[in-house]
C-alpha cells in the first residue's frame, strides 16, 4: 500500500479494494462484513443495513443532484439485498458560506426520493466546518431495510444463472464528466440516478428466482462482474455487442479513451437470475420507462475462474479487467 491515500483509492476498483481489505477489513473483521455485499444482512436475516457518503461535484447535474443521489445510493444498496428501504439517517457536513437556498433544494430532492422508496429519515446530524475544510457539502445516509426475499447473495452465483443488466450503462459517469470538465457538448445525456426498489419489487412480486443483484456504482459494470467472478469463484463470459451503451456515452468514451463498462452508474444494476427466469426478468424490467434496453449480457462458465471474459462480434475474446487508477483521459 502507498504511504498516502490517493484519489485512486476511492475509485471503486482495485486500489479501493486494496484499501478496504488492508485497512478496514483487517481491523473490523467479522462474518457479516466479510460477505462483502451491498448491504449487511443482520438480525437473523430479517434486516439489511447499509451506509454511504456522497461528495459529488458539481452538486447539481443533468438528471439528478447530490440529494437524490444520497437517498438513491443507500436505498439501492438495501434493494440489492432484496430488502425494502424503511428507515434512513441523514448526516450533513456543510462548508460555511453555503447558500441556504441550495441546501433547501437538495433536501427537497431527498424528500421526493424517499417517497418513491416509501422510506423515512428518522435521525440526523448537521456539522458546519470552516471554508475550505470540505467541498461545499458532504452527505452521509445510512439505511435499514426489511428483507423481503432472503438468500440473495453475490457469493452463490453458478452455471444455472444468466447475467442481465437493467438498462444502458455509464450514463451517470459520463454526465458527471461532462458537467465537471466543462466539455461543451449538445446532447440529451443525463445521469441514470434512480431508485431501484420499484424494479426489484416487481421482480420479486413475479417470483423471479434471483441469485444476486448489485448496483454498478463506482467502478461500473466491470467492477461488479469482477467482484462476482471472484466472490462466487466462476468465470463470467459477456458478449460485448449485447451490452447496451447509448450513443452519447459511447461518444464521451471515444473522445476521452474510457470504457463504458468502467463508468459509474446510479440507477443501473446487474442481476444474476436462474436461466429459466431470464427472459421473464428482462420483460418485467422493460416495463419501466428507464429500462427499455434491459437485456441478457452474459453467462457463467469455468474457463477462467475468477475472471470476466469479453467476447467480440468478430470472434476474439479478452479479459474485462477491474478498473484501476483515477479515471483520466488517454493522451493519444
Amino acid at each position: 500500500m502507498n504511504k498516502t491515500i490517493s484519489l485512486a483509492c476511492g475509485n471503486g476498483g482495485e486500489e479501493n479494494n486494496e484499501l478496504i481489505s488492508k485497512v478496514f477489513y483487517k481491523a473490523f473483521k467479522n462474518e457479516i462484513l466479510e460477505k462483502s455485499e451491498d448491504a449487511a444482512i443482520i438480525h437473523n436475516g430479517k434486516l439489511a443495513f447499509s451506509t454511504d457518503s456522497f461528495t459529488v461535484s458539481p452538486l447539481f447535474f443533468a438528471g439528478a443532484d447530490i440529494g437524490k443521489l444520497a437517498v438513491c445510493g443507500t436505498c439501492n444498496d438495501l434493494a440489492m439485498m432484496g430488502a425494502k428501504p424503511k428507515y434512513l439517517t441523514c448526516s450533513v457536513i456543510i462548508e460555511e458560506g453555503f447558500a441556504t437556498r441550495e441546501l433547501d433544494k437538495i433536501v427537497r430532492s431527498m424528500k421526493k426520493e424517499l417517497e418513491i422508496n416509501g422510506a423515512i429519515v428518522v435521525s440526523g446530524d448537521t456539522k458546519v466546518v470552516p471554508r475550505g475544510s470540505v467541498d461545499k457539502i458532504f452527505i452521509n445516509t445510512s439505511g435499514i431495510g426489511e428483507v423481503i426475499k432472503k438468500g440473495i447473495s453475490s457469493n452463490n452465483i453458478s452455471k444455472d444463472d444468466i447475467i442481465i443488466v437493467n438498462r444502458d450503462i455509464g450514463c451517470h459517469g459520463a454526465a458527471i464528466f461532462v458537467a465537471r470538465e466543462g466539455i461543451e457538448m449538445t446532447s440529451s445525456l443525463k445521469s441514470d440516478c434512480e431508485s431501484l426498489y420499484p424494479q426489484v419489487k416487481a421482480l420479486l412480486d413475479a417470483n423471479i428466482k434471483i441469485t444476486a443483484l448489485r448496483d454498478a456504482t463506482r467502478g461500473g459494470v466491470s467492477a461488479v462482474l469482477n467482484e462476482w467472478a471472484s466472490q462466487s469463484n466462476i468465470c463470467i463470459e459477456v458478449e460485448e455487442e449485447s451490452i447496451p451503451v447509448s450513443d452519447e456515452v459511447k461518444g464521451i468514451c471515444e473522445m476521452l479513451g474510457f470504457e463504458a463498462t468502467a463508468l459509474a452508474n446510479e440507477g443501473t444494476f446487474v442481476l444474476a437470475v436462474k436461466k429459466e427466469d431470464a427472459d421473464k426478468a428482462v420483460e418485467i424490467l422493460k416495463g419501466f420507462p428507464s429500462c427499455l434496453k434491459a437485456t441478457t449480457i452474459g453467462k457463467i462458465t469455468d474457463t477462467h475462474l475468477k475472471k470476466v471474459i469479453l467476447k467480440s462480434s468478430w470472434g476474439t475474446s479478452r479479459f474485462l479487467d477491474t478498473p484501476s487508477g483515477e479515471l483520466l483521459p488517454r493522451i493519444c
Binding site: 491515500i5 482495485e14 471515444e254 477462467h304 468478430w314 479479459f319 479487467d321 483521459p329
Partner: protein
Amino acid sequence: MGLELKNLYDDFRDGNTIKAYAKIIKEDAKKLKNQINIMEVCGGHTHTIMKYGLPQLLPSNIKFIHGPGCPVCIMPKERIDHAYVLSMVEDVILVTLGDMIKVPGSNGSLQDARSRGSDVRFVYSPLECLKIANENPTKKIIFFAIGFETTTPMTAALLDAVIKKDIKNIFFHINHVTVPEVMRELIDSRDEHVDSYNNKIDAFLGPSHVSVISGSKIYEEFPRDYNRLVVVSGFEPVDVMQAISMIVKQFIEGRCELEIEYKRLVTYDGNLKAQELIERYFDKRDLFKWRGLGNIPKSGLKLKPEFKEYDAEIIYKDILPIGEIEDHKLCICGDILRGMANPPECTIFGTACKPTSPIGSCMVSSEGACAAYYKYGNLR
C-alpha cells in the same frame, strides 16, 4: 443528416469487415516463405491490438512486436522527478496531460505529489493553461509538456499565444520526443547485440496521428535505407487489419515500400503549418533518455535558446535533480521494447509489477505492452 461522432468509429469496428480482412490475411499468409515480425511503434496500436484481440485472428506466421511509442511509458524517472520537484515549489501550479500524472518517479507520481499538497492539474489541451494563468495571476504555471509529434504542435501553439499575449506566468518543461529516431535506434542497436536477439523487425506499423502532423515522409528512410517497410495505419481494428493485409501483400509481391492505410487524414507532407510552428520554437536535444531504452541521440526536443525566459529547466535549474537513475534490475522492459521478449516472460510481470504498482515502463500506462497483456490477457 450531419456527421455524428459514431460515424467516426462505427464502421471501423464492424465485425464482418474485421472477419473479412482476417480471411484475406490468412489466405495471403499461406504464400509467405518466412514469418513476418511487425512492430507497432505506437502504444495506441498496442492497446488496439490487445483490446480487440487481433492476434487471435492472425495466422501463426504473422507476429506483433510491441514498440516503444507511448509518451507516458517512455518518460524516465529523472524527468518525472523534475516535475515532482517543480510541483512542490510553493507558488507553482504544475499542469500536464491526462494519465501522465500517474507515472511513478523516484519520490512517487504527480498524483502522489498532489496528495501531499502540491497543485497538480491535468488538461485536455495545453491551451487551457491560458485560463489557469489568468485565474491565478500570482502563481507560476509550469506546463510539463510530453508526447510525440502529435502533441508538440499544441505546446508550440501555447508558447506562441504566451509570447503574443505577453503572459508572464506560464513556463515550460519540455519532454517532447520523436518517432523516427527511436525506430532507427531499435534497428541500429540490434547490430551491436546481434547474437542476443531472437526477433527481427521486418515491418513497421506507423502511427497515423503522428503522420497527420509530420506526414508519411518521416518514414521514407526505413524502406530505402534499412529494408523495412512501413504502413501508416489508423487506430481502429479495421484500420490495423487492413494495414496488416497491406504489409503481407508487400511481402508476397516482393515490395518494400512506405504506404498509407489511413488516407482519411494522412498525406505525404502532413500539416505544414504545425511543422513550421514546431521549427520556430524547438531544437533537437543531443540526447534524450527513454525509460527502458536509455539515451537516444536527437530523439527529444527542447526550447530554442532565444525562448529561455520561458524554460522551466533553466529557470529552476538549481533545484532540479541531475543524477541518473538506473532501471530496476529485474525489469526486462528494455528487451520487450526492442522486441526480444514478451511481457509474460518477465519474472516480475503481474506479481511485483502491476498497473497499480508499476516498476517498468511497459506497465506504466494502459498503452504499454505489459499493461495491455495484464489488463486484456493474451487469450487465444
